[in-house]
Each structure stands twice: as C-alpha cells, then as structure tokens.
C-alpha cells in the first residue's frame, strides 16, 4: 500500500512474523503507523528474513532522515 499523503513522522514501525498455516514457514512483513495509530504504509511483499524486511522498510523511510 503506497502512502496516500505525505508521511507524518514520527512513525511507529512494526515488523511481524507470519507463519504459513500449512508449511510452517515464517515470513516477515512491516507496517508503518502514524502516532495516532493509523496505518500509513505496509510492505507489499512478505520476506524470508527479518533482515530483508528491515532493508525493504529502509527503502520506504524506516530510520532515515
């Protein structure tokens, strides 16, 4: 989901693991919230590792100025 309006920082970034119900494989997604708790952005893809998920979030403004 692309941002609909200019991002209001600070954001709260959440990195969550999701386990596939059948295979049991864990994948990671990120979500960025505004301070009011509104979802501002979400990762389009699920990632195999948290590190990849963090890297993708960086592309979308996680911890950059």
């Amino acid at each position: 989901m692309a941002p609909k309006e200019p991002i209001q920082l600070p954001l709260r970034w959440e990195f969550t693991p999701q386990q596939h119900p059948r295979t049991g494989i864990v994948s990671w997604k990120w979500t960025a919230y505004s301070h009011s708790g509104k979802v501002e952005m979400q990762s389009k893809d699920a990632f195999d590792t948290l590190t990849e998920c963090l890297n993708d979030a960086k592309q979308h403004g996680y911890q950059t100025k």
Partner: protein
C-alpha cells in the same frame, strides 16, 4: 489520757528498735528489749556507760560520737547511718536518730537515741552495687561487641570500649547523641533507625544486619540486636543494643561468591566455545567429503563464517570483561544520532529476534536525538538489550524499542513480553556473570556480561540504565537515559573508491600451521605472491631471499618471538621498504605499544577480518595504525 506506764512498757518491750536515753554527757540512762537484742548488752551491763562503746575504732578516732551529740545539742536532732559494734565485737549497719531532750526552760536534760539494724538492706545494696560494678566491668571489657544503651527516644546513654573500638566515637563524643548517627544516608532517608526502635518496642527484640557508618565515614557490615528494656511497672526505659562487626565474614562471603561466579563463568565459557566449534568441525568434514558440490561447500562456508563470527564475539566479550574489571573501558566522544544507533542495533539483533519469531515495534522521535558519545558502544548496549529481550521472551512474543527526549535527556527503552525479572534479583542483574537463573536454565547462551557492560557504557555517557519488571513472566523494560547534545552529527565520509588490488610479495609467519596456511590460501586467492614460515629464524632466511613487501608476523612464537623477528628484520633492512604487520591474539594497549617499539607498522588482532586485511594490503605507503 494514756497511762505513762503504758508508754514505758511500749518502749521497754519494743523488739526491733534500740530505744534508750543518754544523759547530756552521753552516758546511757535507760535500755530496752530491742537494744538488748540489737547490741547484746543486758541493761545492768550497759546503763551508766558512755554510748561511744557502740562505735568502731575509726569513728572513735575521728571523734564522731561527740560530734553527733554536739550537732543534736545545737540543732535538736542528728541522724546517721554507719557501722556500729555489738557487745561480742561484731558489726552491724545502723540507722541512728539522736534527739535532744530539754525541759520547759530549754535546759538540756539528755538525748533519746533510736537505733535500727539495717545490715540486711546494706548487704543487699552492697551485693547489688558489686554486681553492677562487675557487670559494668564485664561490658566494658568486651572488645568485639559494641554494647550500649539507648533511652526510649534512641539517644545513646552508655558506651562500652567495644563500641569505641568498633565505631570510633569516644564515650564523651557520642553519649547524648541519637543513634541514627550510625546509619547510612540511604537508611536514614528510609527511616530505618526509627523502624528498628519501633520493631524492638513492638516485639521486645529486633535483630537485623546492614551497613553501619563509623565516625570516620567508613562503612562496616553489622549484625545488630536491639532489646527493649522495661521497668517493674512495664514502662519502657530504653533499649540495650549489641552490635557485631561482620565485615570480615561478609568479605569472605563475597569472595566465595565471586569465586563461584568465576567457576560458573569458566564452565559457561567452555560451553560457549564448544557451541560454535562443533559446527565448524562438522562443516570442514562435510566439505572434505563433498568438495565437488559447490552448493554444499557454499552452505558449509556460510556455517563456518557464522560460527567463527560467534567465536569472535565471545573473544570480544572477554576483552570487554577485562576492560570492565580493570576499569579501563573507554569510549569515543562524538555527536551520535540515536536513530542510527537504534537502526544498527536492531540489525545486529535481528537474527535473535527472528529466531524467536518475535514481533518488533520501533518508534524513534524525529526531533534530533543527538547525544555525545560512542556510536559503536551505544549500539552494542542497545543490541545487548535487544538480544536479551529476544532470548528471554518465549517464541512469538513482542519487543518494543522506543527513543524519545525528556527534560534534556534522550530516553531509549526496550520492553518485552518475556519471562521478566524476579524482584529478588532485579538489583543484581547488572552484576557481572549474572543471568538470573542457574546455568542449566540459561537461554540462548552468552557470557552473562551484557548488562554489566551495558550499564558501564551508560555511565561512561553520563547516563543511567535501569531495569523494571512486574515480576516473573510479566515482561521487563530497560530504560537508558543519557544527556542530549546540541552538537551536530558528523556524517561519515562515503567509502573510498575501490581500487584494484596490486599483487604483492607477502611473507606469512605463524607457528600455527593451520592459521598460516589459511592466510596463505586467502592471499594467493587475491593474486598475491606468498611465502610461509612457522618460526622466526626461517622467516629471517626467507625474507633475505624473497624480499617481501609485506610481512604478516605472529608475535607469540616459540624461539624467536615476533618482536625479535621484527627487530632483526628492521636491522637487516638495506634501504628497502617493507611493512611489518602484527597478526596476534594480544590486543591490549600495552601490546600495541610494544609492537610499535619493536618496528611493526600495524597491529591487527586475530581473528582478522579479510576485508581489513585487503584494505591494509592495498595501502601503498607505510602508514601505521597502532
């Protein structure tokens, strides 16, 4: 009106008082039954004799009987207590009242004398006095215990020599002062002295151990027994206080505890070292058997890479232990942006967080959270907290990282839904080698220094690191508080443009054949020409012929050590330039200084990162880095 004969009989027959009359000169004129019982004389033996026969020789020599009559004559009355003598020469303690008798014209007719035997009371008082004296001497002779009395308000009213020896106050310095003088400031603020009095008042006796303060400010560990003292009517008269100095015993216990911690640490260290070594050994065997399968070899290479990185972390931890123990952990001082610290720490701890499948929330205030300090150490601090949160939270938990500003300070917190911290150890978790549970219950390894190191780093930044937990299985939160800085953050220069590696002639010297061989293989794979020596003399011979541009030289070798080899290499330098690089396990400042003095250009500590080695080999000049 009563018959005077009745009075006469009353006097004559009184048994417990000697009642008799003296003439104006002191001669005995009458005698009663009590006098006979008390003094042993029959009336016909004593009447007419002078009353001084009842007095001791000392009293007679001082003229005491005459003095008594003089006073009674002048003042009408004289009362005395003292030893008197019976007919058989034995003594008794007497209370004597002599009253002058006068006629209506005031003429002195004589004296009445009433004597009571108080020997029993006197003996009792003497016994009590002697007992008190013996007790006082006993108390005062006790050197190993401070024994003293407090009044009901806690003011010191007595002081023995043991108290003076233990606490340093002389009797005249402390009697009259409140016993709260002996308490620490923290205990005073917590109201401990008054709590102790209340406990003793309530239950009759209070017993406790704690820090107490001597006159010179020094602390000692004391065992104290406070006993309430009541009188016959049950009124509180004060407290008896007995204090024993247990500092030595406490010190011994601390040493035993420290020794136990070190033993546990060594056992844990062996365990932690074995953990990465086992997969490395396994990976090497797999590679030997499946050398033709690139995918397997790559997987094994990655295993070795990961596990050797873990070994390197353990060694780094041990170096930090040494620094903390010796108090020489130092930090850099530069403006550091906490947002970057958070990002780096999260990346470092990502494998542990991912392994626990924990959800992670990161929230960093956008306003400049800049502190003055050491970026790498702060990252290490936060990564330690995150790793702990990941390790001590059951799978599928949640971890929060938050950074914000408050009152000129940056607040960085890590909270989790983990197993929490038991209240009884929350004060000890920042001690070295403490992990909260026994070694068998340990989760996820580690040397148990993470929090000790984290708190030390916080302190070196002028900050604090505190732990909070509502108890077991209630999660925990660690809060770092450091002063904010106004200085702008220096951005790192972008990395220098990669240059193609220049092939060099490199001599590798290491008595560890495996270490030398792997380094040789790595250097050859990078296109360099190499020679290998496993001891100093051979290295010097090869250097003479091979003319290396770079010598990678181990220091700890049998025979000629690296320092001596470096000196001889420098001595045989005939105008040629070459760089000598120490590759050693010794990484203390003193080691670096010594290698520099021996002629080394550079000091690298094992395990050397291949990237660092490549960078070193690319440097054309003889720049040194010690």
């Amino acid at each position: 009106m009563i018959d005077p004969r009745l009075y006469q009989r009353m006097i004559e027959q009184a048994r417990d008082y000697a009642l008799f009359m003296l003439d104006p000169e002191g001669r005995i004129m009458s005698w009663n039954l009590g006098a006979e019982r008390l003094k042993g004389y029959a009336a016909d033996e004593i009447v007419g004799r002078h009353f001084s026969v009842f007095y001791t020789r000392e009293a007679l020599e001082s003229g005491w009987p005459a003095h008594q009559l003089e006073v009674a004559t002048v003042e009408g009355h004289f009362e005395d207590e003292g030893w008197r003598v019976r007919k058989d020469g034995s003594r008794f303690w007497a209370n004597v009242v002599i009253t002058a008798l006068r006629d209506d014209d005031g003429k002195l007719l004589g004296f009445s004398k009433i004597t009571r035997d108080l020997t029993e009371r006197r003996l009792h008082e003497d016994a009590l006095r002697q007992s008190e004296q013996r007790f006082r001497l006993l108390i005062d002779a006790v050197q190993d215990y401070a024994i003293f009395m407090l009044d009901p308000e806690g003011v010191v009213v007595s002081w023995n020599s043991g108290a003076e020896r233990m606490k340093g106050y002389r009797r005249d310095e402390i009697v009259g002062k409140h016993f709260s003088h002996f308490f620490t400031e923290d205990d005073l603020a917590a109201g401990k002295p008054w709590e102790e009095l209340a406990a003793a008042r309530r239950t009759g006796r209070a017993e406790m151990e704690g820090w107490r303060v001597k006159k010179n400010g020094e602390r000692f560990w004391a065992r104290v027994v406070l006993t309430a003292v009541h009188d016959d009517q049950g009124r509180l008269r004060g407290y008896a206080k007995v204090t024993q100095d247990l500092s030595e015993r406490r010190h011994t216990q601390d040493l035993q505890k420290a020794a136990k911690n070190v033993q546990e640490f060594i056992a844990m260290l062996a365990h932690e070292l074995r953990n990465p070594l086992a997969p490395i050994k396994m990976a090497v065997e797999v590679m030997a058997k499946a050398s033709s399968d690139p995918a397997t070899c790559e997987a094994m290479r990655q295993t070795i890479d990961r596990q050797s990185a873990q070994l390197a972390r353990i060694v780094d931890d041990m170096i930090d232990i040494a620094r903390i123990t010796r108090g020489n952990l130092v930090i850099e001082h530069a403006p550091v942006e906490l947002g970057e610290v958070v990002r780096r720490a999260v990346e470092t701890a990502a494998p542990a967080i991912a392994a626990g499948r924990h959800a992670l929330e990161v929230e960093v205030a956008t306003e400049g959270l800049v502190v003055h300090g050491d970026r790498d150490r702060l990252t290490q601090l936060l990564a330690n907290l995150l790793n702990n949160a990941a390790r001590y939270t059951p799978p599928g938990g949640r971890i929060w990282v938050r950074a914000r500003s408050e009152d000129g300070h940056a607040l960085l917190s890590v909270r989790d839904t983990g197993r929490g911290i038991e209240p009884q150890i929350i004060d000890r978790i920042f001690d070295m080698f403490v992990q909260g549970r026994s070694a068998l219950e340990r989760v996820g390894g580690g040397l148990g220094i993470g929090l000790a190191l984290a708190r030390r780093i916080a302190e070196l930044h002028g900050g604090t690191l505190e732990a909070k937990s509502e108890g077991a299985n209630r999660g925990s939160e660690f809060v770092l508080r450091v002063p904010l800085s106004q200085a702008p953050v220096r951005r790192e220069a972008p990395p220098a443009e990669q240059r193609a590696a220049l092939p060099r002639r490199i001599l590798v010297v290491d008595d560890n054949v495996d270490a030398a061989t792997t380094l040789d293989v790595l250097l050859r794979s990078l296109g360099h020409e190499t020679r290998v020596a496993h001891e100093g003399m051979t290295a010097l011979e090869i250097a003479r012929e091979f003319r290396p541009q770079v010598i990678l030289l181990d220091i700890g070798m049998p025979g000629l050590d690296g320092y001596e080899v470096a000196r001889r290499l420098r001595a045989m330098n005939h105008g040629r330039t070459f760089r000598i690089v120490a590759i050693t396990g010794w990484g203390q400042e003193a080691d670096r200084l010594r290698s520099k003095e021996a002629g080394f250009d550079l000091h690298l500590v094992k395990p050397v990162d291949p990237g660092v080695l490549v960078s070193v080999l690319e440097q054309r000049n003889g720049a040194t880095l010690h």
